[in-house]
Symmetry: C2
Subunit: 410 residues, 2 copies
C-alpha cells in the first residue's frame, strides 16, 4: 500500500469546520488506498496567542518552558483531527512528537531532528489506523519536549516521509502552490506545476513561503513534495528531481523559474575598516552570539588599507545589530557605522541560469529602465539577488516577471 | 528539608498576573526552606473552551483524543508557572503527568492512578529545582495520555504527596477553606479550622467543593491536606487525623461539623414493582451501563407482593435515566414510572453523630417547623441526608445551621 505523509498548516485548521474539512481530505486519501500519516500545525493564530501570554508572564521566557507551552497548540489540533476522523467512522490515532518517535537534540526553540523511531507509527498503520502527528515538535533523550522552530511542521512532515520511506509528502496550506512571483505583487504570476529541489530551495530561502530546511531534507532523502491548497482541489506544485521532469527539458531548464521577494531587510555598513585578517570574525562572531542572522555580505575592494563592509539583517533585528556593531567598532579601527532601513531583496531563480550568460545583465537593465536603484548584488549558481528600496519591490517584480517571460512559464 | 506539595486551581491561574502571583507564593514556600512540588490546573475556563471546540468537531468525541486535547490546558499552565519562577530567579522545571511518572490505567477520561515513579521528580528536587507538575493527567504503560476526571488536579497533588511521603499537601483555590455551610446560602457560615478525613469525605461527597477521591487518598496515606485561598493569606482549613486534633476533643467531636448542599438532583420512582429477587439489578445494571450515577436509593416495604422503588440522579441525567428505566419497566412487571425534578440534597455531617441520638429528630423537626417537606431520607454513620425541593435549600441550610449552632463552631 502506498504511504503518503500529509501536512496541514494552521490556516487550514483555524476553526472546527475547517478541522472537519481537513479530516474529509485525509479520509479521501485513505479511501484511495493509501496508508496515511498527517502532520498538523496549531489552529490559526494560536501559537501567537501562546507567545503573547508567555511574554506577559516573563520578560524573557525560558526556552525549555516556552517549548512545552508552544508544543500544546499542535497537540490540540492533532487530537481534534483524530476525533473528527473517528466521528467519520475511520480508525485514527493522534501522536505527539514524542510518541511519534521524533528524537531531537536539546536546542530548545530550534531543535534539530536526530532520528525518527518509526516503530509506533508503523504499529499504528499496521493496526489499520490513520496516524495524526503533532507537527513542529520532538523529544530529547531525557524525555524533554522541544520545538523545531517556526513553520517547522513542514519539516516534521518531510522528515516523517523520509523516515517512513513514503511515496510522497503533501503540504497543504492556504495557497494553491508555488508561483513564479508573489501574486499579491505581480498580477500575471503563474503557478508552477513542477520544480526541482535546488530551485525551490532558492525560492524558499528568498521569500517564497515554505520552510527551507524541509526542502533540503526532501532533496537529501529524495522525497517528492506536493504543495497545494486545503481550500480547493487545484493540482498544486510538485517539487521533485524525477527522471522525466519538465525541468530537465531544455526549453524549461533554460529559463528563470521564479522571482522571490522579501521586504524585511535592512543594511548596515561599517566604513573605513582596517583591512587585516580577522576583521570579519571580529564583526560577525558577536552578531551570531546575539542570535542575529546576517544575510547578504559585501566587502568592497580595499582602497589605501581600509575597506567598507556592508551586510543585511532583518528589519526587526537592525537596532540590536547596530548596538553590537558599535560595540566592536573600535576593534575594527573605525567609528563610522551607518544603516539603511526599509530595503527589500528581489531574486531571480532558475537552474537554467548557471551555464547561460545574459540573465544578470537582463535583470540589471530591466531594473535600471524602471528607474530602480540597486543597493547591493549577490549571486549563487542558480540565483541573482538585488537589494533595492522596499517601495520599489512590487514594480521590480512586475518588470522582471515580464522581462523573463514568466507569464508564459507553464 | 520538608517536602511540600501545593496545588493551584484554574481560577488561581486565570490570567498572566495571577500566574505570577502564584509563582510568588511558590517562591515563598521555597524560601522558607521547603522542597516544593506544585501541581497546577488549566488556566481559568480553558478546559471548558477545549470541550466546546471538541463538541463542534465531533458529536461524541473519542475519549482517548479528548484526553490528549484536555491535557494540554494543564501543560500550558505548568510551563507558564515554571517560566514565571525562572523569571524570578528560581530554578524550576515543568513536568507533564507522564514526565512526573504518574502511571494510570487506560480508562480515558476517568483514569485511576496505578503508581507514581518519583525518580524524575526526586532527581529534579535534588538538582535544586522547584518542580511544577501538570495536574489532572497521567500516562498509560503504552505512553498514551490519560486524564483523571474533572477536578482531579487535587488528586494529582495528594497522590504526589503520598508518593513522595511529603510533609503536607496544600490545595489553593478561590475560597478560604471549608465552611460549615455554603456561605452563599448561609450568611453566618463559619470557616472550619481543622476537620477529620471522614467528615471531610462526607462533606465533599455531598456538595462541599473538593474532589472526594483526593480526600480518600489523603485518608489512606495519612497526608495532611490544607485547603486555603491563593488570593489572600488567611489560614484555611487543615484536613488531618492527627493525635491531638480538635475533633478528638469531646466537645467538638460531639457535634455536627457542617452542612452540605447539592441542588443538582432529580428523583425517579418506579411504582408497583413485582417484589422478587433481581429487580434491583435489572434496574440499575442498565443505568450503570449508560454511565448514569445513581445516588440515593429507597425501596419501600412490600405491600401485597409489589413495592415502590425510588432513586435520585443528577438533574442533567434525568431524561436519559427515564428512557433507560422505561425500557426495562416490563421486566419489573410495571409500566408506572414517575419523575420529580428540581430537587436538592441537604446533609448534616459530623463524627459526633454516630453514637448520639437526637440529631436526626432535630433535623427533621427543624425542617418541619420551617414548612419544608422531606421527600426522601438517607443516612450514613456520620451523615444524615434529606431530599427536599431545591427552592427550599437556602432556607433549609439557614435553619439547620442555627439548629445545630454552627455559627459557634470554631
Amino acid at each position: 500500500m502506498p504511504v503518503i505523509v500529509q501536512k496541514y498548516g494552521g490556516s487550514s485548521l483555524a476553526t472546527p469546520e475547517l478541522i472537519r474539512s481537513v479530516a474529509s481530505r485525509i479520509c479521501s486519501a485513505h479511501d484511495s488506498g493509501n496508508s496515511v500519516i498527517a502532520t498538523v500545525s496549531a489552529m490559526g493564530d494560536s501559537t501567537d496567542d501562546l507567545l503573547s501570554i508567555a511574554s506577559q508572564v516573563s520578560g524573557m521566557p525560558d526556552l525549555r518552558e516556552l517549548d512545552v507551552l508552544l508544543s500544546t497548540g499542535e497537540l490540540q489540533s492533532c487530537a481534534l483531527v483524530a476525533m473528527a476522523l473517528k466521528d467519520m467512522g475511520k480508525n485514527a490515532v493522534s501522536l505527539s512528537g514524542a510518541q511519534a518517535g521524533i528524537r531531537t537534540d536539546s536546542s530548545y526553540g530550534k531543535a534539530k531532528i536526530a532520528d525518527i523511531d518509526t516503530s509506533r507509527i508503523l504499529g499504528e498503520l499496521g493496526s489499520g489506523n490513520i496516524v495524526i502527528v503533532a507537527g513542529f515538535q520532538g523529544v530529547t533523550n531525557d524525555s524533554d519536549i522541544t520545538t523545531l522552530g517556526r513553520g517547522a511542521s513542514d519539516l516534521t512532515a518531510v522528515a516523517l516521509a523520509a523516515g517512513l520511506n513514503a511515496d510522497r509528502c503533501e503540504i497543504y496550506t492556504d495557497v494553491d502552490g508555488i508561483y513564479t512571483a508573489d501574486p499579491r505583487l505581480v498580477s500575471k504570476a503563474q503557478k508552477i506545476t513542477t520544480i526541482g529541489f535546488e530551485e525551490m530551495l532558492e525560492l524558499a530561502s528568498y521569500g517564497a513561503k515554505m520552510n527551507p530546511r524541509s526542502i533540503e531534507l526532501g532533496m537529501v532523502y529524495q522525497v517528492p513534495i506536493l504543495v497545494a491548497s486545503s481550500f480547493n482541489d487545484k493540482p498544486g506544485t510538485l517539487i521533485h528531481d524525477g527522471e522525466n521532469m519538465d525541468t530537465k527539458v531544455g526549453e524549461i531548464r533554460n529559463r528563470v523559474r521564479g522571482i522571490a521577494t522579501d521586504r524585511d531587510v535592512a543594511k548596515i555598513t561599517v566604513f573605513s575598516v582596517v583591512d587585516r585578517p580577522g576583521i570579519a570574525a571580529a564583526l560577525f562572531d558577536p552578531l551570531a552570539e546575539s542570535d542575529i542572522s546576517v544575510d547578504v555580505i559585501v566587502q568592497n575592494a580595499s582602497v589605501s588599507g581600509t575597506t567598507d563592509l556592508t551586510f543585511t539583517v532583518k528589519q526587526s533585528d537592525v537596532d540590536r545589530a547596530m548596538k553590537v556593531v558599535e560595540e566592536v567598532a573600535n576593534e575594527l579601527g573605525t567609528t563610522n557605522v551607518g544603516k539603511t532601513e526599509n530595503l527589500a531583496k528581489i531574486s531571480i531563480v532558475g537552474t537554467g541560469m548557471q551555464d547561460s550568460p545574459g540573465y544578470a545583465s537582463n535583470m540589471f537593465r530591466s531594473l535600471a529602465q524602471a528607474d530602480i536603484n540597486i543597493e547591493m548584488i549577490t549571486t549563487s549558481e542558480i540565483r541573482i539577488t538585488c537589494i533595492i528600496g522596499s517601495d520599489h519591490v512590487a514594480k521590480a517584480a512586475e518588470v522582471l516577471h515580464g522581462a523573463f517571460e514568466l507569464e508564459k512559464s507553464e
